[in-house]
Symmetry: C2
Subunit: 397 residues, 2 copies
């Protein structure tokens, strides 16, 4: 129970930034005296710091503000992309303090050397973090594939050519908890946690496009994972059942209209450049009013709007957010998406017809990495006992 | 806390049927002594009865079995259908003890006299229930339309022609809680609660067809309601975006292929008979190998399979259940549904490709009424204080 209350104090500060003891007490429903005892323990353990209101110097007076520490435990986030490995260290306040990246091509790669590379990148990150007084209390890895629910195993990552890869034995996870999830889910969580002013826990569909198209469905603040962990496969929702052949073997999936390769082909662009990054060129051409580019994006938007109409009819979300590489194309993509949604979904609430709002993500392509790091931080805040007694030894302990 | 523990004793018996005191204690994690005190209070209040194991006659000995009472409080369920009003009284054990129905045509009806008719039917049900020693502790109404989340207001019921109808002032709800929900949601809950041997809380998509096609999405044992309460509109998921015009104004919705009118038209049948019941004739023709009937059902099954492929890709449910009037057509409907799902969804779990199972509902068209009544019973079991001190006065108190 005490551990639980310590965790609630930490989470209230993670959500709000800075609070007085009285404000913490109000938020978590404990007495001021009980909160003071908890706060003292966390201050002694170095998990909190205190900021005076500027009038007097005494620690613990009513007006002083508590903050999470920006030294000590932190969360490590990692992203395995088709063309990059990226890692970052996020302190308890949610600030990214160190970031490292290796550019490389991972299509059809052997997972063992790739994960050895990622492990060495994490060692380098631990060294950088250590120089800042930070040590990793958790690691979360965003991957471009399906992860079996409750495991660290990539069941299938078609764009890497990986299947049934268990990350746990190949990554430095002995000293702290390891989480692995689909990049679309972490991207959606970054969107959720990045909006502290939101009115209650959100319910939204977050579209995450790189090479393929995925989505995460967030219901009342939690990602809907599905029976096997495979929910959110928006890219394979049928748009036109007799349409073009998809890499999955079906016909007319959304990816055959709005996936990166389909978009570039329709715009008359070739497939050079880094996969997942080539829509930048397409956005430039749209800005220059290139007719083929505009037509390609319009057609992709229509297909995306048809697939999202199905999702909105089934899920009735508060909103739809377009993230990943498609977020760059929103000036041209959103009008046809909105037109299809207006035609194909009927939402009558409180006596008036409402439309489900569709917006581009403000977080951009860093979403999955930030969501993973934040997930590691939040997981660490759940277990304050581990943070008050940090493990000795190195990263691979 | 005591109310909460009384409620947990009642729910454990509602879920399991009959249990000894020791079994109840094991299920809810309290001591045998604490459970005995709770059970004594519930026995005194008439909410439980006791059944000896046949060896000795003393009350309260270890081997005796506890059961919920089959007298006293009960749940009232009601269904407003396009061609009927039906009500039933379900005792705490989940047995329907009384049932009344009026056949009438409600397309384009005025809601005020219809709800007056329903109120008089509920008065008659209360009289029948009273003769059995039962009194209503809650009422739940299944309606063929959208209900705004957390209200008793039908936002839109296109097949009745109703919009913005608040049931609360028009039904006898002064003496007990009133719940109103979409018939598809109650049908799904009947499916969920009707399977006590299921392995944990279910996650499934329940298709509910009458005249239109709806669905309920159950995630970890709870109906996913959506931001406004309008989730599950499977009938308006696009199947072929340029397809036939739907009553909703869009083109190619699932209802234009698999709704009752579309099915009968494709089979060359006219639209006589009771709406929502006319698929019986179609099933007879399929049994007789009528080619037009078989072709119509096959085409509907293909369209249903395409729409469900989208739902399965998005939601990754454990299973899909076909209920309502389409359940009668499953011998001919399921093969094309399964073929489309096998083509258009890719689920790889634990190293092997799995298919999401699709089955017909075993509950049949009574699902919404049974789910509503069970919902009223479960709501009553949440508030044992009300059941231990039943209200005096009549139904309209």
């Amino acid at each position: 129970m005490r551990q639980h209350n310590l965790s609630r104090v930490l989470h209230s500060l993670a959500d709000q930034g800075a609070l007085s003891r009285a404000e913490v007490a109000g938020r978590i429903g404990l007495t001021r005296a009980a909160v003071s005892t908890l706060v003292d323990e966390l201050l002694r353990g170095g998990l909190l710091s205190e900021r005076g209101p500027g009038r007097s110097g005494s620690v613990g007076r009513p007006g002083s503000q508590l903050l999470l520490a920006n030294r000590g435990p932190c969360g490590f986030g990692a992203e395995i992309g088709v063309d990059h490995l990226t890692v970052c260290a996020m302190d308890l306040r949610g600030t990214v303090r160190a970031r490292l990246e290796r550019r490389l091509r991972l299509e059809g790669s052997d997972p063992v050397p790739v994960l050895a590379e990622l492990a060495s990148l994490l060692e380098a990150l631990a060294a950088e973090a250590g120089a800042l007084g930070l040590w990793p209390a958790g690691l979360a890895v965003a991957v471009p594939g399906l992860v079996a629910r409750g495991t660290a195993t990539i069941t299938r990552a078609p764009n890497l050519g990986w299947s049934e890869v268990d990350l746990a034995p190949l990554l430095p996870s002995g000293a702290f908890p390891l989480r692995v999830d689909n990049e679309a889910n972490y991207g959606a969580l970054a969107e959720l946690w990045g909006d502290p002013g939101a009115d209650g826990p959100g319910s939204f569909v977050h579209v995450s496009a790189r090479i393929g198209i995925g989505a995460a469905i967030v219901v009342d603040g939690a990602v809907l994972r599905g029976a096997h962990g495979f929910a959110g496969e928006l890219g394979h929702v049928p748009v036109r059942p007799g349409g073009p052949l998809c890499s999955c073997g079906a016909r007319g999936c959304l990816e055959t209209y709005a996936g990166e390769a389909a978009l570039l082909r329709a715009a008359g662009l070739d497939l050079r450049g880094d996969p997942g990054e080539r829509t930048g060129e397409l956005a430039d051409r749209c800005t220059a009013q290139d007719p083929a580019a505009l037509r390609a994006v319009r057609q992709a938007g229509t297909a995306l709007g048809i697939a999202l109409s199905g999702a909105v009819n089934l899920l009735d979300p508060q909103r739809v957010v377009i993230g990943g590489s498609l977020a760059r194309l929103t000036p041209w993509l959103l009008p046809p998406v909105r037109r299809e949604l207006a035609r194909r979904t009927m939402l009558t609430a409180g006596g008036r017809t409402t439309e489900t709002p569709v917006t581009g993500s403000l977080i951009g392509p860093a979403g999955p990495l930030l969501g993973a790091a934040r997930s590691a931080v939040r997981g660490a805040l759940d277990k304050p006992a581990r943070l008050l007694a940090p493990p000795g030894g190195g990263l691979m302990a």
